[in-house]
């Protein structure tokens, strides 16, 4: 297109970073050096148009590369990206400013993100000068947590949790980030009785990036089996398993698989939702860090069954170890012919790429992921059309959560019917619960659906000693509050729904008597205000108004009926008229805190 670029030019480091993703710059018409123009034939010919514009999905990776290299994204860098990808600078700037991890103003190469969200807040998180407050980092079992990035020629990222205030100050001052302990810490259960584990059975056993270790624990048996069965039969087993999606919306996975598999429009895409940013959720991380091959194998089966040749794992940017582990495992699988043009010699092709998010909770919403991958602002799309009809790049797309996909292995190995024998008829299989807050041993626990809330908390060692259970936040910020009266409700989709509760992504955050519930609820409101994409009016303004009313209620006291009415009015329009699930659920936890916990009354 006829780009109009300002006079700002990129630095060598920025060009390097951009070329690390896009390859060397050739044509002088697209950012290349004019001294080579003649030699490249540029004086009389230029190629552009559609071919250039199909590269737009490399925008987010390029922005990452620049941000990782120099710590921020300058005008010169955006100009160069614009020339390479044929995307206007204003457009790129709009994308870059959507994401929390990017900056379009200069800043130090060391950035410290201190989690101030629910679990870390209870654990006493504190943001010193020079650090950024961050929404949930998905390290709730080790709260309080920080995420540290160092930009440079050899950029590095890492986490520290739990982090003491002294450690955080030291990090802000540039101190060395201690090595992260082994990933098993997130899954205390695996050190005790493994026999009942399905999804976590390999976690903590051997090197997660060793294909041999994986194979020696039944790895790739399911894919072999799937190839024998053929795509139709695989889809049938998934349908029969009656597995519900584990990402929060609990939609029957078999229905999506069936629709995509039979969709006449080609190509089909497969996306794994590994954005895991719901406050209190960290279960997918356990699989990504502890058993990445299981996800790769499961995605390969899904691709085989539904006719996808390209898959993406959309991984949140704040999971540095998961990123490394998964990338390494994909390399290894590719080397072993388990990904690529001829998977397992079975004559089908499947390529898998990891796409890294950049600090936007909303990008976990399935259609926001598509926009994000395609190089646009991560704003959710209106539905219909649904992803199975028009998803990534407008094509039929199967999108599932990490945990949902991990369940494909047992479904294929043992059959859908056998799978459905665990749990209840409406909630089949086992579930990963993210237990955090005031319990003895926080972590990810795998139990069959139907276990009660009490059992889950007991598995985590019970309420931390000396404390009294006040409430349990189920399902995260988008969830609802259970009270001690709800301890014996079986944790299934249907039982919780009947009790006016939600399971969501499996968050079980235990709050004791010391937690300031008003403040806690306020944080939930602030989370929704901060993370709204801003696209639709009910949510963009409604989340702000909701937080303002809470603040007023905090100060004026509960006597003000008009404010309580206003709050209810806001909640109603959020649920009725927002575009996406974010707005629909932005009032749920608050409403439940008022109704069930008596906050503000």
């Amino acid at each position: 297109m006829d780009l109009k670029l300002s006079s700002h030019t990129p630095t060598d480091a920025e060009v390097d970073a951009i070329e690390s993703v896009l390859g060397p710059t050739r044509s002088s018409w697209h950012g290349g050096d004019r001294t080579d123009a003649e030699q490249h034939g540029d004086h009389h010919v230029a190629r552009g148009g559609h071919d250039l514009r199909t590269q737009r999905h490399r925008l987010l990776p390029v922005l990452h590369a620049v941000n990782d290299r120099v710590g921020w994204i300058s005008r010169g860098a955006i100009n160069h990206i614009a020339a390479r990808l044929d995307v206007a600078p204003a457009d790129i700037h709009g994308v870059a400013t959507f994401y929390g991890l990017f900056s379009v103003t200069e800043r130090p190469t060391r950035q410290v993100h201190v989690c101030i969200d629910l679990a870390c807040r209870i654990a006493g998180a504190d943001v010193p000068d020079g650090a950024h407050p961050s929404p949930c980092l998905g390290l709730c079992e080790r709260a309080p947590a920080v995420f540290v990035t160092d930009a440079g020629e050899r950029p590095s990222q890492g986490v520290l949790a739990p982090a003491t205030p002294v450690q955080v100050r030291d990090l802000v001052a540039g101190g060395r980030l201690p090595d992260e302990p082994a990933p098993q810490a997130a899954t205390p259960q695996v050190h005790h009785d493994r026999s009942s584990l399905v999804l976590l059975r390999r976690v903590g056993v051997g090197d997660p990036t060793s294909i041999h270790a994986y194979r020696s624990h039944d790895g790739y048996l399911a894919l072999r089996r799937a190839i024998e069965m053929g795509p139709e039969a695989v889809v049938r087993e998934v349908v029969e398993s009656n597995i519900m999606g584990r990402g929060g919306a609990a939609f029957p996975a078999g229905r999506k698989w069936h629709t995509v598999a039979h969709h006449p429009v080609r190509p089909h895409y497969l996306v794994c939702n590994a954005d895991e940013s719901e406050p209190g959720t960290f279960k997918d991380r356990a699989i990504l860090e502890g058993d990445p091959f299981s996800l790769i194998e499961a995605m390969t089966i899904a691709a085989f069954a539904t006719g996808c040749e390209q898959g993406y794992v959309y991984l949140r940017g704040e999971y540095p170890r998961a990123k490394q582990t998964l990338r390494r495992a994909i390399e290894v699988a590719t080397e072993h012919g388990l990904l690529g043009d001829d998977v397992m010699g079975a004559g089908f092709s499947f390529h898998l790429d990891v796409f890294i998010g950049a600090g936007a909770y909303i990008c976990g919403e399935e259609t926001a992921i598509f926009n994000s991958i395609e190089g646009f602002r991560g704003e959710p799309r209106n539905k219909p059309p649904f992803p199975v009809d028009a998803g990534l790049f407008g094509k039929p797309t199967l999108i599932n959560n990490v945990e949902t996909l991990a369940n494909v292995l047992p479904i294929v190995l043992h059959g859908g019917e056998a799978f459905a024998a665990t749990g209840t008829s409406g909630s089949t299989g086992t579930k990963l619960f993210c237990v955090s807050g005031s319990v003895t041993t926080p972590g990810v626990y795998e139990l069959p659906f139907g276990a009660t809330l009490r059992q889950v908390i007991d598995t985590a060692g019970g309420v931390a000693d000396g404390h009294r259970l006040r409430a349990v936040l189920l399902g995260g910020a988008a969830g609802s509050f259970a009270t001690p009266d709800d301890l014996d409700v079986p944790l299934t989709f249907e039982d919780l729904r009947a009790a006016g509760l939600t399971l969501g992504s499996g968050v079980v955050m235990v709050l004791d008597e010391h937690v300031d519930l008003v403040e806690f609820v306020h944080r939930i409101a602030a989370f929704f205000r901060d993370e709204s994409c801003g696209q639709c009016v009910p949510c963009r303004v409604g989340t702000v108004r909701q937080e303002e009313v809470l603040q007023r209620l905090e100060h004026r006291g509960p006597a003000f009926d008009d404010d309580r009415q206003l709050l209810a009015d806001i909640g109603r329009v959020l649920r009725d008229s927002s575009i996406c699930g974010f707005g629909h659920s932005a009032h749920g936890a608050i409403e439940s805190a008022i109704a069930k916990l008596g906050v503000f009354s």
Binding site: A88, G94, V104, Q535, V537, P538, R540, G542, V544, S578
Partner: protein, 297 residues
């Protein structure tokens, strides 16, 4: 010289559009039949419900359904449905004026009215009355989009206190019409805003001053400088204005212009959105190049 299949090459005549099936639905209890692919909004309007408010909808743009003021109830849908973008299904049962719908519209109008300046947005005053809007209940401490007017060129001003972030200007400047991409939505959430890269002023941006953004802006956030200044001076008076359709005097494309004339001078230029040449769009010459007839002495 080899020959190619002549049958493949011969395609005279205008292609015939495939016949459209009719779909039957109910709107407020009344049966309506419309062509497949029609939006609920169009279906409602064809049934005489032309009172459904819209703000982000534009007849030349793909519905963005961002403002959510046009919501209606559709039986079987958990949430309300944006009528501007949802297409009809056979047997759909639509209600346009239930308590739930009215509540939603009221809230959306209150949210917008309590954060932005809708004083010159067409129809909003009427809707505010219709839906009982009360922005005062949000208190005086509430966050707003109040900000200074941007006057960085002489042709048009940008008053983003009036911006409801409907995306229309971005779509018109971007892939849907102008393809210049001078502006985009930047930032996120309540802080999201319309901006050129790095919030540059227009003369430092890619803007080509076609004014196609002004043409679609529903709230007057983007306005001819002439109109803005006349309004500021209290001289803007639409009842004293005439609108005359004519053809652009510049290039041979032949765009239809609508000249808005007050007190014997052109105060604004638009183009009809249903014209096959322009679809409401113009270039800088057609939009702003009228001064030469007013500078003649």
């Amino acid at each position: 010289m080899t020959t190619i299949d002549p049958a493949a090459a011969v395609r005279p005549g205008t292609p015939v559009a495939p016949p459209k099936h009719l779909v039957e639905l109910t709107v407020d209890g009344e049966t309506v039949r419309v062509a497949e692919g029609t939006t609920v909004l169009q279906a409602c309007r064809s049934a005489g419900h032309d009172d459904i408010p819209t703000l982000c909808y534009g007849d030349t743009l793909t519905p963005k359904n961002a403002c959510r003021v046009c919501m209606v109830e559709v039986e079987g849908s958990r949430t309300l449905v944006p009528s501007c973008s949802r297409t009809v299904d056979a047997g759909m049962v639509v209600r346009t004026d239930t308590e739930r719908v009215r509540h939603s519209r009221r809230m959306v109008l209150e949210f917008l009215g309590s954060s932005t300046d809708l004083s010159v947005a067409a129809n909003v005053g009427r809707w505010n009355e219709e839906y009982g809007v009360d922005t005062e209940r949000y208190g005086s401490e509430r966050a707003t989009k109040a900000q200074p007017v941007v006057r960085d060129n002489e042709l048009y001003v940008r008053d983003y206190e009036k911006c409801i972030l409907c995306y229309k200007c971005v779509d018109a400047c971007g892939s849907q019409w102008q393809n210049t991409f001078a502006i985009a939505v930047a930032g996120r959430g309540f802080d999201a805003r319309i901006a050129a890269e790095y919030d540059a002023e227009l003369p430092d941006s890619a803007c080509v001053y076609c004014g196609n953004c002004i043409a679609v802006c529903p709230t007057g956030a983007l306005m001819f400088t002439t109109e803005h200044d006349m309004r500021a001076a209290g001289n803007w008076d639409e009842s004293r204005q005439t609108q005359t359709d004519t053809i652009c005097p510049y290039c041979g494309v032949g765009c239809q212009l609508t000249l808005h004339v007050q007190d014997a001078s052109i105060v604004k230029v638009t183009s009809p959105s249903d014209h096959s040449v322009t679809h409401g769009n113009l270039c800088i010459k057609g939009r702003f190049g009228f001064q030469h007839v007013q500078n003649r002495d």
